[in-house]
Amino acid sequence: MKRLKNLPHVAANGLLDRRLFLKTGGMSGFALFTAKVTSQEREKWSLNPGVGMGEYGSPSQYESHIKRSFGSRLGTTGSGASRTPIQHLDGMITPSRLHFERHHSGIPDINPDQHKLIIYGLVDRPLMFTLDALARYPTVSRIQFLECSGNSGTQAILPEPRQGSVSDLHGLISCSEWGGILLSTLLEETGLKKNAKWIIAGGSDSAMMSRSIPIEKALDDAMIALYQNGERIRPSNGYPMRLFLPGWEGNASVKWLTSLKVTSSPAMTKDETSKYSDTLDTGISELFTFPMGVKSLITSPSPGLNLHEKGIYQISGIAWSGVGKIKNVEISTDSGKTWAKSALDQHVLPKALTRFRSAWKWDGSPTTIMSRATDESGEIQPIREVWKVGRAANSYYHYNAIQAWSIDEAGESSNVYV
């Protein structure tokens, strides 16, 4: 217990040195609970051999409440979104079964033997690729986030903060190891005409979702993704293939990809004009606002994940930027008066979720905690008031302002604007 008294404070209201958990290692053993063993007894699960192997794994029955929440649009079964329970996850990878979903006409049941990718338009050689053929192409894999540009949108437009879990408020963000073929590899084979400037990507869902992609992105890091976290992409994420545009708004990463038409200008599809365009307070609307801004969320503690008594807790969360790597995440536990850098997990990758952790000694009094991320380009998360400057009252795409949680005397968190 002597160690606890001497812990270095790095900011006001109990924020401790970010290396605390690294230094003390197994502190949960004495800080969180002490198990008392009174006699040599076996737990009931140690009395008999357990069940055998299975073809597919599944989480513990005690984790069955960790699931996505979702809502469909009225009159439809498959148009809507499901949200990742980010407050219950750790690390940087989202399990594929919990990756958020956003569909416009449900999930098609695609037979991979009949699926084709065609590339045509302003190319030297219009070509069709089967999955068997693509299996022989050179592949890459990258750990990168995907975020819907409508994520956190209610924070932007509601005058009073909506109460809900981190998932309810911000669950349209996930991060996976995506594997596939760089689009540039296929465009090299088709060749490009001199006036090739855009590519119209089309999906084979029943909405035939389509978006226009600048040729610069196609030739930079765009991927024809076939794998997600080591296995074939799940149907809800575009099986058997999706476009994946690292760091850009999720809608542009067209799922169930089947066609790429190279053009000299954008097609002005429904999704890039009537949706996913950003209206300013002047009435002007911006098209093609692709990159997702620098953002962070404290996932624990957070609404629903309460503090039970005063003492030492880990503040943990995720940060990301569509521009590149996270440079740092600062934490405040005194309503933004003082800040201290949080410890970043080992893997700080460009356009990926980055896990941050801080140690905090809560004294049991009400306060407000928040995180503020900076990316490698120097961009810092704004406060909500600054984010809204110049935007129309109903503008909600690309919301990346600082999220604060108010913690009351009972240790319960709620959503507040700062």
């Binding site: 069709m128 053929a133 400037k197 035939m208 979702m209 002005m268 002047t282 098209l287 606002t289 692709f290």
Partner: protein, 174 residues
């Protein structure tokens, strides 16, 4: 001799790099223009990609009331799903105010989207004439064209949508 050395050395040095940069197995199957036409659904704002056919709002109204009204409401208002009409002057204040008439920058997008995605339960059932008719109806109820105006691949791209001048590009191609 001197000339030979100048050429031979860089050639040896760069050959492996050239192979690496051009490393696809080249298994793409060539597509004929006829095959491309069967896959190509892209409609451009200048009318490129629009098929033959035509229709007007009088014809479109009948189809709308049979196939669209259940989700989108009478004359595109107060349905279960997206409002297709009205909202003029509200686009900075109301999400539901962003309709075809008040917000959409290009009329060609209407044809493109109906052909791809509508009706929701059975997309693909409309003929091109029916899609032109529905497009005309949606333009008519938004007071953009007259009821008997024929919409086809020539007339549709010429329509200037009311909010078109209020769009700018955030992304600037290099």
């Amino acid at each position: 001799m001197f000339t030979f050395r100048m050429f031979a050395f860089p050639l040896i040095l760069f050959t492996p790099l050239l192979i690496y940069a051009d490393d696809g197995p080249k298994l793409g199957i060539p597509l004929s223009p006829e095959e491309i036409a069967t896959y190509d659904y892209v409609v451009m704002p200048d009318g490129d990609g629009l098929p033959k056919g035509s229709g007007n709002a009088i014809q479109g109204k009948e189809i709308y009331e049979l196939r669209c009204l259940a989700c989108h409401g009478i004359e595109g208002k107060k349905g279960l799903n997206d409002e297709l009409n009205g909202g003029h002057g509200t686009i900075t204040t109301s999400l539901t105010g962003k309709t075809i008439g008040s917000y959409w920058p290009y009329a060609t997008t209407i044809f493109d989207y109906i052909r791809r995605a509508m009706p929701y339960q059975t997309p693909g059932i409309f003929s091109n004439d029916e899609i032109y008719s529905l497009t005309a109806y949606l333009l008519f109820i938004n007071n953009i064209i007259d009821e008997d105006e024929q919409i086809n691949s020539k007339s549709l791209p010429k329509i200037i949508m009311p909010n078109q001048e209020n769009f700018v590009w955030s992304y600037q191609p290099k």
